[in-house]
Subunit: 218 residues, 2 copies
């Protein structure tokens, strides 16, 4: 029982810090997304393709979360976008406090869109609010169309699903319609995009959506 | 500090129960593998293909670990292999206690090879000993060749890496040699198999290795 109490306290403390992050983002008019997925579903490749398209239309910054290495931050930095790397040293998810600390290295007053790329993990990051406007789940077709049923919390807590690597559909057993039905059975409010970072398919629709949501209101 | 203490106690308690599981497996002469990977790397498909090949040569049983649903156990049961499903209800890894409880539903005296398919997660299961002989990491080529560097603990604690979905190599940016070099830089003792469950490539070598290790000594 004591462990459950500690865990609840950890989550409560995290929620409190996430609220503060969210208030800061509101004051600075930042649109913030928390990009989550399994390892290897293509979050960083999607981010690279997205940044290349949106950075002329909006001021963007990135926070990279990884268990180990700054390989992803190096990839993003090549696109001349401000990026801060968080290494969790084995930690299986980002927390609001880590994001708060990383924010000290960014000039938020100049940012329209902040992308937080979480640790590759379809389980643990689902329960940790970072103060984001919404969670975007990336799921590649190679992972199989049953994943929303098997990892429901993430899909329940997300607002957007990006079905990635659709160029590989001819070579795998996944069915995109089944995948979408499974995702919507968990959360009927999900917005779904189908994309391929290799062919560029679907990227414009996703980037337009992102720009529309990043536009500073008032 | 109190949280760290609790976590250490959780791990110590788990290690103690894992030791008991290991003693039981030794008495019953069971060869036990803990199959770990990201969601969607193909653990269950690999398991289906493996069971079809080895079940005539060894007596096999399976414990399925999932965050939610018994979809995987249903797939395995179709192969007429004894299977027990553990649903963690949001838990991000299996623990020795859950495996101990599942073992009550299996006749271990009749089992040569026990496969424990862990929750899809490349982070958390790395630190939880279940009493297995060894951990087998499945990594599909679609996940990218940098994953051993980004999730090192799992590769450090594993004995075998199965590079899966090699039939997709022509369509993705991964390089198998780079992937292997990255894995071996983390853990030079890893045994590596390259397989495709779609074409059958490499499955015989993997299954022969498994049978050889499952053979009851004395």
């Amino acid at each position: 029982m004591s462990i459950i109490t500690i865990e609840r306290k950890v989550l409560e403390k995290n929620d409190e810090l996430a609220r503060k992050n969210r208030e800061l983002f509101a004051r600075q008019k930042n649109f913030v997304i928390n990009l989550v997925s399994s390892p290897g579903s293509g979050k960083t490749s999607l981010l690279e393709a997205t940044l290349a398209k949106v950075k002329q239309r909006a001021s963007v910054a990135v926070i990279e979360g990884d268990v180990q290495t700054d390989l992803d931050a190096q990839r993003v930095a090549k696109l001349d976008v401000p990026v801060v790397q968080i290494v969790t040293n084995g930690g299986c998810h980002l927390e609001a406090k880590l994001v708060h600390d990383a924010l000290q290295s960014l000039d938020l007053s100049a940012v329209d869109l902040l992308v937080i790329e979480n640790v590759g993990n379809l389980v643990c990051p689902a329960n940790y609010d970072l103060g984001e406007a919404l969670k975007v789940v990336v799921l590649s077709v190679t992972e199989g169309d049953d994943k929303p049923l098997k990892y429901p919390t993430m899909f329940r807590n997300a607002s957007v699903v990006i079905v990635n690597k659709v160029d590989l559909l001819p070579y795998v057993n996944s069915n995109v319609e089944t995948l979408k039905q499974n995702a919507l059975s968990i959360n009927p409010n999900l917005t779904v995009f189908e994309v391929s970072c290799r062919t560029g398919q679907g990227l414009d629709a996703w980037c337009d959506w992102l720009i529309e949501h990043s536009a500073r209101k008032g």
